[in-house]
């Protein structure tokens, strides 16, 4: 009769169409089934159960599911973008710390040399002063020591901007900018996938450095309005910038997600790029023709099947037949709905391209000309003192750390002492026994 072993074999037998049984085991089960009516009944029950489970209809997604998910995904995408920028900022911050340490070491040596060599180096520095004075610095305020050696770097807007970002303590609080409700594209430009040989979804992203965030944002709004698109979401943030005198101001930045009619995608990308210095730009396109056509033909087939089932349903008289047809109709309808959702999603992407614009404000330019020797030694002294403070602080931290782990060291030492003592005793005993 039924025991665990034969039950397992019967389940294997039930799945034999998908998972081939060993011929010997198959023959054994078949032979047993011929003799044992209980096992035959059990197998029939299992077949019925499996059939009923397989016939359970798929439930369609609840109303508003995709819209709600879309909003959450856009939110997550923005968070992802900001955290990525933050990681980059932290990386450059740590990199600049290493550079600063190197420069500090060079400065210490330089101070020692200045102290001993005296006038010749002063003459050399005053010569450098006249050259430096002619340089119109792109960025005002006292530059960090790292910027000192290369004046040409100071003239490069991007480098100066990144350095100032390094000084930032982190991103300011994120606030949501007003988002315009979507305006449908004009009827003259409505996208009809069937009119195109190829169905290509195009998306883009642009990173810009702009003079003023608010102005750039307004210009983007105007471009989007003119091209009959809409702003899907916008996030702004501010980053404090510091110099030797403390906080110098805030840099505004943000990411804006746009939806533009795909027929005007190129125009939008071009116009957006004119709003500032492009630091990164990307256009991606992928062909969905095959999938689209395939999905459409599957829907047509299923609809034809649905029609046939409805006809059958009208003719059916036996309750069991009606239930069976009804179940199949529900399955077909669920599948059609699911495929329609895919087509809807394709249509949306084909009709409206998505453009992610990342805006970062350039630091304010100050056209002050700083002479070299007026504050060079002050800055050297200040930085030297800062380095000394850093060294003292480092030793303090190490000292505090050592004291903090002292209890663990004591316990570890005691255990180590006992182990060593035991090992030594063991070796001594062994030697004596030999």
């Amino acid at each position: 009769m039924l025991n665990t072993c034969s039950i397992d074999h019967l389940h294997d037998y039930l799945e034999r169409e998908n998972y081939e049984m060993e011929p010997r085991a198959l023959a054994e089960v078949e032979a047993h089934l011929e003799q044992c009516s209980d096992c035959r009944s059990y197998l029939e029950d299992l077949t019925l159960l499996k059939g009923e489970l397989a016939a359970m209809p798929l439930k369609a997604l609840p109303d508003g599911f995709e819209e709600e998910l879309h909003a959450r995904l856009v939110e997550e995408a923005n968070v992802k973008l900001v955290s990525k920028s933050s990681r980059i900022s932290n990386f450059t911050h740590s990199t600049s710390f290493k550079v600063l340490s190197g420069i500090a070491a060079v400065l210490i040596i330089a101070i020692v040399v200045v102290g001993t060599a005296g006038n010749p180096l002063r003459n050399l520095l005053s010569k450098a002063k006249s050259e430096e004075a002619s340089i119109d610095m792109a960025m005002g305020g006292a530059p960090a020591p790292a910027e000192m050696p290369a004046a040409s770097m100071d003239r490069d807007g991007t480098v100066v901007f990144e350095e100032s970002m390094n000084n930032a303590k982190g991103f300011g609080e994120t606030q949501s900018a007003p988002v315009e409700p979507g305006a449908a594209p004009g009827s003259s430009d409505v996208f009809d996938p069937s009119l195109f040989g190829k169905m290509i979804i195009r998306n883009g992203s642009v990173s810009l450095e702009v003079e003023e965030f608010d102005t750039a944002y307004t210009q983007i709004e105007e471009i989007v309005k003119a091209l009959e698109g809409y702003i899907e979401s916008a996030d702004t943030y501010s980053t404090p910038i510091y110099d030797n005198n403390g906080r110098r101001g805030d840099l505004q930045g943000g990411t804006v997600s746009l939806r533009i009619p795909s027929t005007r995608f190129d125009a939008a990308m071009q116009q957006i790029k004119t709003l500032g210095t492009v630091t990164h730009s990307n256009i991606s396109s992928y062909d969905v023709t095959e999938n689209y056509v395939d999905t459409q033909s599957r829907i047509k087939n299923l609809e034809a099947r649905e029609l046939r089932l409805r006809e059958l349903l009208q003719r059916a008289e036996v309750i069991e037949d009606i239930m069976e047809i009804d179940l199949q109709l529900a399955n077909v309808r669920t599948e059609i709905d699911s495929l329609n959702a895919i087509i809807k999603s394709y249509d949306k992407s084909l009709q409206m391209s998505s453009i992610q614009v990342s805006l970062n404000e350039k630091p304010l330019s100050e056209s002050t000309i700083t002479t070299l020797d007026d504050n060079l030694f002050d800055r050297m002294r200040a930085n030297f003192i800062r380095s000394i403070n850093a060294v003292v602080q480092m030793f303090q931290t190490i000292l505090v750390g050592l004291v903090a782990i002292l209890p663990f060291l004591l316990i570890f030492g005691a255990v180590l002492y006992l182990v060593l003592r035991f090992v030594r005793k063991f070796l001594r005993n062994r030697k004596q026994s030999l």
Partner: protein, 196 residues
């Protein structure tokens, strides 16, 4: 994994929401249905599916591209539902009707069901949902994935992080349990004098 999926995954990793939506469009209905069967109500299933899809979007960088995306997604679905079940701190029935008694019973022993008594189609269809809620959770998930959604043993093993042998054992015990529960309920009705 299809080449189309691979492209969509790459783009989704860069934060492209539309690519991600296209990518999951094939799978989200199944994820929702798994959640619905595991959690027993539409609201929780919707929350769990959304949570799953957000987790997938956030964790795409961790996805190994030599594995199957759908399997990975369903693994996260199943685990998210288990977390929710754990939070509830009580065993749920799978029944859509919440008025049913929510009890967890150990698998009814084989002896309690008379093998001579056979299942009938109409009673199986009516009692299946309630019976699914009464078998142990791991067996229920394995039966759902195999018999309702048609996953292979290997896929279920990947989703549940267990061997094919364990999967087969859970499925056979799960089906066995379903049969026993339905037969038991039937014999109870007979004893109460009701009709089948």
């Amino acid at each position: 994994m299809t080449s189309n999926d691979a492209v969509l995954i790459q783009k989704s990793k860069q934060g492209d929401v539309h690519s991600f939506e296209l990518l999951i469009s094939k799978y989200q209905v199944y994820a929702y249905n798994i959640a619905w069967r595991m959690l027993g109500n539409e609201e929780d299933a919707k929350d769990a599916t959304q949570e799953t899809l957000i987790k997938v979007f956030k964790g795409l960088d961790k996805f190994k591209e030599n594995s199957e995306f759908s399997t990975w997604l369903y693994t996260i679905t199943v685990n998210t539902c288990r977390d929710q079940l754990r939070k509830r701190k009580k065993v749920m029935t799978l029944s859509v009707d919440d008025t049913e008694e929510k009890v967890s019973i150990q698998l009814v022993a084989e002896e309690s069901a008379d093998p001579a008594v056979r299942l009938e189609q109409k009673e199986v269809a009516g009692q299946l949902l309630s019976a699914l809620g009464k078998i142990p959770e791991f067996q229920k998930t394995a039966v759902l994935l195999r018999d309702v959604y048609g996953f292979s043993y290997e896929e279920i093993g990947a989703i549940e992080n267990c061997s094919v042998g364990t999967v087969k054992s859970r499925i056979s015990r799960g089906r066995h349990g379903l049969r026993s529960i339905i037969l038991n309920e039937r014999s109870n009705k007979i004893q109460e004098g009701g009709t089948i």
